[in-house]
Symmetry: C2
Subunit: 209 residues, 2 copies
């Protein structure tokens, strides 16, 4: 379930604040969801709550991390160390939440050899070998759109089975490979849409209000 990571973040936050247990109501508020939905989600992992009390935070954290496979710490390769890729390579949020970027690649020879956060940028020709030797299973694509499909094919061929795609394009991958897409311009456009609706509603005199 795609909401478990959000619950996990909220749980860690509560644990750091010194709490031992939490009710579905409180956890739902911290995660920004409805409490019934949260209970239903958690009940799918098994019954880890106590009626009248709530959920044991550290126990629930362990359960959720196990479901998400975060006890295993998977190796990640990042391809494309341009503007965004550079920031992702240096982003502390990955390491602190269980992911380790173990290799950086770029097609531009002038970038190869550069060091970012203690990692050398390697040429993309080395991708296949490195993915194998470092046992990389997750790839992050932060290249321009025209290169993204080529990189995706390389990653898949090398054995990567999950891809996080920041390039603004749809990737074609074989069955069994998971792709998640993050398109920053699309996020902005969705906000623009809401802005547009709001100003239109105002202009038309809020007849419904």
């Amino acid at each position: 379930m795609a909401r478990l990571p959000e619950y996990l973040r909220a749980l860690h936050h509560l644990a750091e604040a010194g709490h031992d247990t939490v009710s579905s109501e409180a956890l739902a508020a911290a995660a920004g969801v409805n409490s019934a939905k949260l209970r239903k989600d958690l009940s799918h992992l098994g019954s880890y709550g106590t009626r009248g009390v709530g959920y044991d935070i550290s126990h629930l954290i362990a359960q959720v991390e196990h479901i998400l496979g975060l006890h295993l710490s998977r190796a990640v390769a990042l391809v494309g160390v341009g503007n965004l890729g550079h920031a992702l390579a240096g982003y502390g949020g990955f390491a602190s939440r269980g992911f380790k970027i173990v290799a950086l690649f770029d097609a531009d020879p002038t970038r190869v050899g550069e060091q970012i956060n203690g990692l050398d940028v390697r040429h993309i020709d080395e991708l296949a070998t490195t993915v194998t030797t470092e046992r990389i299973t997750i790839g992050v694509i932060a290249t321009p759109a025209p290169a993204a499909q080529i990189v995706a094919d390389l990653l898949v061929k090398a054995g990567v089975t999950s891809i996080l795609n920041f390039a603004p394009c749809v990737l074609n991958v074989p069955e069994g490979v998971d792709v998640r897409k993050v398109d920053l311009a699309i996020e902005m456009q969705i906000l623009s849409f809401h802005e547009h609706r709001k100003s239109a509603a105002l202009a038309s005199g809020e007849a419904a209000a």
Copy 2:
């Protein structure tokens, strides 16, 4: 509808490739969705297709851009020019798709005055004034989590009605303010979940296969 931006991107791509019209089947493939879903989505904007032919690309682009409010070009403020904020400020994908970051803010005085992409980083104390004078309606939060709610409150108070939040936390905002969240670590954790499921399926001998 949240899929329109994806259709728009695909349409622009087709237009650049020299196409004039496109069928729902082809456009759906380019956008990575089912063709019936695409037709239903587009039919909500009105009937802009021609039976037997398909959709006129440039006409449809104009319609979709209008629905999304992209003909208006809204001003954007970015708060937090750390690692990620820096990359976002320099990200070409915003400008090329109709958004203009017009102001950068940070709380750290050592960063104030720095220039990124021709924009001065201002101190967050100037946020309220700048948002008003520059008519900013969209705010991007790229601060650490503990600062995000404070920044969100500042933005809302200054008149911003849409927020794109990159900080790993839930924001509380009043009714009428839209928030979209992008959490990079959560994206990775969702991939980790799929990886975990796949390796579990393999280990248990793929009894279903």
